[in-house]
Subunit: 445 residues, 2 copies
């Protein structure tokens, strides 16, 4: 993309309404625009990151054997009356009446609807196990939306639901989700720690939240430093293998890690003092096993091998897709702007032309643009007639992990400069070497 | 995907509520499930086709130089009070009140919001031309939703908006959209004819609808048969070239083609009788030029080169993404089921194992599955323990364009059977030849 043809409305001043760094940088980098309290438009740059995150979530869910579908944003109230949650949910549920005076609502979550889909179409144990998920906009009418997309009202979430014949199989689904989530967050450049959580209004016995450590987090967290040494890496997982998934879950749940809701001082005190940590964390996902809480009242039963009818064991598993943008920025920025991890960056590299209009630098930039594109990379070329300082400031603010700087002096020596956004380190090399280096870096992502 | 692990709830009986063939087949093929009047869940097979269509729309919009973003589903009523449409829109607008008693609505379209984004960030003619679009769920509270996704209430639409300095530039944007739409529909295997239309509540002087000919269409259409001979083909278009785009638009608008709303019997009568056609059509898109209708009341102005301030010229351009599934099926089916064009098929080919459990056919099917996947194709392997007849019926119903049948007799002769869903023609060949053939067919799509 050429910046002269893009829509990237960066702001020079700090927006006064933004209290935390991710909100501030998302506004300044022209990623979002507030349309009403807690409701945002995703401007082109923000939309690109949102799509990258969504794509990673899809890929990892499909890898785990989970099946994508899409439920609508609006739901009939009657479904929620069946589970008993219509009256329980409170004012966070946005209730709507249509022209025929039917009670509807903007879905804050989808346990009822997915259970309805299941009971309408599945009746035999032979069709189990089954895990269905979708990535869809939700609405929760927060009384005081704040922190930008971190605590919005209209937000994008991946929510998946497993249907299993018995407890053991449902726990395997739970473990499978934990494993797939660990992989998902790591691909986004995040360390999200699974922490034992308290069950909320969804209900459930086994539940873990995934928290990203950040000083602006809404939860207080306590953990054994040993957990931050764990890496998922590029291990290949057979998601059908119960023992393999269970072993990975054990590895990540053995070190102490809890939020304030489940924190136990006595157990925490047993950790060697030098490994005891407390911090704040941002919740970016949660997994639940809740058994037959919805299948029983809603009649989601299957016939077993011996001919009896039993309610299925379920769980629900969520990733806060839109919130992740905020969490990633909270975890990865400096005083100049965002620092995108390579896995989610909106563009793979920026090209800065130091002397727009100079035919040799223009030609070199165009060639770089073409060569990077030919290698499957997407560069953002700052081809505006601007000072070098302004171009650098924009690149730093929007946080592309790599920048290639092209100037007349370098070109006459056959060199461009490749700069790493995180370390600030620059290296001179030929254009071809810079393209090769970037292709190699991104091939490993 | 292996069918034994998929969620494909096909129905044996014809659902009584479905009056038209696309609705019937989408329900029978397990593509959708109604959750409330005019509100559907997209089951896995339907979701896959929806994503393919969405992907084609994105690719063609980006090719034309248009920039994707994403606006929220809910909008504040105040924006619509500025344009004067809040009171005009009538009962099709779903009005919502949040917990703080603020008036909101579920967006039926986005002229107001995109104009708000534009005026907040753009103030100079130097930032023009600009075309922004999104693909987002909309809601129109139809009094009598029917025909499945063809006339739903919650529906997915691509809507794009151009911002230009003057009339000529805006007309180029209009032409660019027409060209990109012709390409878009043709990639989906559809012939969508641009027809001069009457302007609706959005307003506008220049407007064309795109109609797919089908007996179940909602509009009566009149056209010169010459237009159905036009093919876009694989021509490469320079979307910046005004003359080139204009010439393509002329080519497609020269033959008479109008809906009943703009039909003119006198002009129609001048077409040679053997080329005069009347039929019914399904609207799958519309482009509008409406000038300063929104920019003026909403203050979307830019400063020109001579320092004056002028309201920008705008247009809006829509493609009915979810409705396209219905339109494609209406245009492409037989009495056994759907026939997907290769460009939008949910899976590239079906593999039917005639004797599940026979080790030689099982092995041959697994090898085929692997080989197709390795070539970047996505097969659906019917590995259920079912009669051949039932497997064929399912494949015919869900409409994959190609089927590979693997049986013990063929395998002993080193052959599989490749069948074309549309023609019904079968050909025996080696597994390797079938994989090569399919890879070749899809490489051209």
């Amino acid at each position: 993309m050429r910046l002269s043809r893009y829509f990237l409305p960066v702001l020079k001043e700090n927006p006064s309404e933004a209290q935390i760094v991710s909100h501030r940088y998302m506004l300044r980098a022209g990623m979002i625009k507030q349309q009403a309290a807690g409701i945002y438009s995703w401007l082109p740059l923000g939309f690109k990151v949102l799509k990258r995150i969504e794509q990673i979530v899809h890929e990892e869910q499909i890898r785990a054997g989970h099946i994508p579908l899409l439920m609508p944003t609006l739901q009939p109230a009657d479904l929620w009356r069946e589970s008993g949650r219509y009256d329980d949910y409170g004012e966070e549920m946005l209730r709507i009446t249509d022209r025929h005076k039917r009670d509807m609502l903007y879905g804050p979550t989808n346990e009822e609807m997915i259970t309805d889909i299941f009971r309408s179409h599945v009746s035999s144990y032979k069709d189990l196990p089954l895990t269905l998920y979708h990535i869809q906009w939700k609405f929760r009418d927060e009384i005081r939306p704040r922190f930008g997309v971190m605590r919005g009202r209209e937000f994008l979430m991946k929510d998946g639901y497993n249907f299993d014949l018995d407890y053991e199989s449902a726990i395997h689904a739970y473990n499978r989700h934990m494993v797939s989530y660990l992989r998902t967050y790591e691909r986004m450049g995040l360390q999200a720690i699974p922490m034992r959580a308290a069950s909320g209004p969804i209900g459930g016995d086994n539940t873990h939240e995934f928290l990203v450590l950040a000083s602006t987090g809404e939860s207080e967290v306590f953990y054994d430093a040993a957990i931050t040494d764990l890496k998922f890496g590029d291990r290949v997982v057979n998601y059908d293998d119960r023992a393999e998934c269970e072993a990975i879950v054990k590895e990540w749940t053995a070190p102490y890690a809890r939020t304030d809701e489940t924190h136990d001082e006595a157990i925490f005190a047993e950790i060697p003092e030098e490994r005891r940590r407390s911090s704040r964390g941002i919740e970016v996902g949660q997994i639940f096993y809740f058994g037959t809480k919805y299948s029983e009242p809603m009649g989601a039963n299957v016939v077993t091998a011996d001919g009896s009818r039993v309610p299925v064991h379920m769980g629900s598993h969520g990733i806060g897709v839109s919130r992740l943008l905020g969490a990633i920025i909270e975890a990865s920025h400096d005083d100049k702007g965002i620092i995108w991890p390579e896995g989610v960056t909106p563009f793979h590299a920026g090209i800065v032309n130091l002397k727009q209009g100079d035919s040799s630098t223009d030609l070199a930039c165009e060639a770089l643009y073409r060569d990077l594109s030919a290698r499957g990379l997407e560069p953002l070329y700052d081809d505006r007639d601007e000072r070098a300082g302004a171009k650098f400031a924009t690149m730093d603010l929007i946080g592309l992990p790599w920048r290639i700087t092209v100037g007349p002096r370098g070109i006459s020596a056959g060199k461009v400069e490749l700069t790493n956004r995180r370390t600030g380190e620059s290296e001179e090399m030929s254009s071809g070497a810079a393209v090769d280096r970037l292709a190699q870096i991104y091939a490993g992502i």
